[in-house]
């Protein structure tokens, strides 16, 4: 069988998981409006929306408190912690596109952002390389044939960019096969910048 029988809709009107408050508004929209300072006459009068906003405030307070505790007590990268928490929140609200896994009739999927994170991390195993944008569009609708388009920054001192790109390609293919179980039909590497020194501060984020 070569076609999938029930692919997830990549562009639903809103995620089916998204919670709709009893007043009819989407929780994500209420939160987004609150964060962006958008106000209307509904919020002050709606118990459900006000409760939702209060819960978001509680979450933010908890994160801030945790960050402050970390700063006071131990030397952990608090910015990284906050970033990871926000990653979870972003993924929850905007999970991205599903990519096919396995055989078409198995109806299995992996979110593009999850696969891209693994492949970025693999690329950054090559010394001095930092991964940027990583997109994995299927070759055709419902196709299991995937091609990766990966942007990287490499050291200015690198003498053989072709070799470096091949090294990155090898790592990415290996990770796709061994960590994800995905066969890539193409890996397009684009060197978007040459940097003076390897920036190790952001390495390993794998985002």
């Amino acid at each position: 069988m070569t076609t999938r029988i029930h692919p997830p809709d990549p562009t639903p009107p809103h995620e089916p998981d998204e919670e709709q408050l009893p007043c009819g508004r989407l929780l994500s929209q209420v939160w987004a409006d609150w964060e962006e300072g958008v106000t209307d006459t509904h919020l002050p009068d709606c118990l459900h929306c006000r409760q939702a906003v209060e819960e978001l405030d509680q979450l933010e307070s908890a994160v801030r408190h945790l960050r402050d505790d970390v700063q006071e007590n131990i030397t952990v990268d608090a910015a990284s912690l906050t970033e990871r928490v926000m990653d979870v929140v972003r993924l929850e609200l905007r999970p991205g596109r599903p990519l096919p896994l396995g055989e078409p009739d198995e109806n299995m999927w992996i979110m593009e952002s999850v696969a891209a994170r693994t492949l970025r991390a693999a690329a950054e195993q090559v010394p001095g390389v930092r991964a940027g944008s990583c997109r994995i569009p299927p070759e055709a609708a419902h196709s299991s044939r995937l091609t990766v388009a990966l942007d990287i920054h490499v050291p200015l001192a690198a003498t053989d960019l072709q070799y470096l790109a091949e090294e990155v390609r090898h790592r990415v293919r290996q990770a796709a096969e061994e960590l994800l179980g995905v066969d890539l039909v193409g890996i397009d590497i684009r060197i978007t910048d040459l940097v003076d020194e390897p920036d190790t501060s952001a390495k390993g984020h794998g985002r």
């Binding site: 109806n107 979110m111 999850v114």
Partner: protein, 111 residues
């Protein structure tokens, strides 16, 4: 809120026991509100995992099971996903051997 609590609970236990599965996708709204959700039975809090949806459109059609999992980094994602699908299939086959099923498994994270 699921309309098939017994099957949902059975599938939840089954999927959580699959090697390579870290947990079912937790909805952040569930995380925020889990303490407010009481089952009404013995005051026990009933988690309602965002990562598992059970439905049967029309009441007589195929069972539609949508599973969203976070896998462990130590195991190949494809293998964990396939094992999850097999676990769900086995669970349904034991309970409803003659019913048609439609199962979707999606990986939403790796930890």
């Amino acid at each position: 809120m699921t309309q098939h609590p017994a099957l949902t609970e059975e599938l939840t236990v089954s999927v959580r026991g699959v090697p390579g599965v870290a947990f079912l996708k937790p909805g952040i709204t569930d995380s925020l509100r889990s303490i407010l959700r009481q089952s009404g039975r013995n005051g026990r809090v009933t988690p309602s995992p965002a990562g598992l949806k059970v439905s049967r459109p029309g009441g007589t059609g195929p069972w539609v099971i949508e599973v969203q999992i976070v896998t462990r980094a130590g195991m190949r994602v494809l293998d964990a996903t396939r094992a999850t699908r097999s676990a769900v299939e086995a669970c349904l086959a034991a309970r409803f051997p003659t019913d048609a099923t439609h199962i979707t498994v999606t990986v939403t994270g790796i930890v």
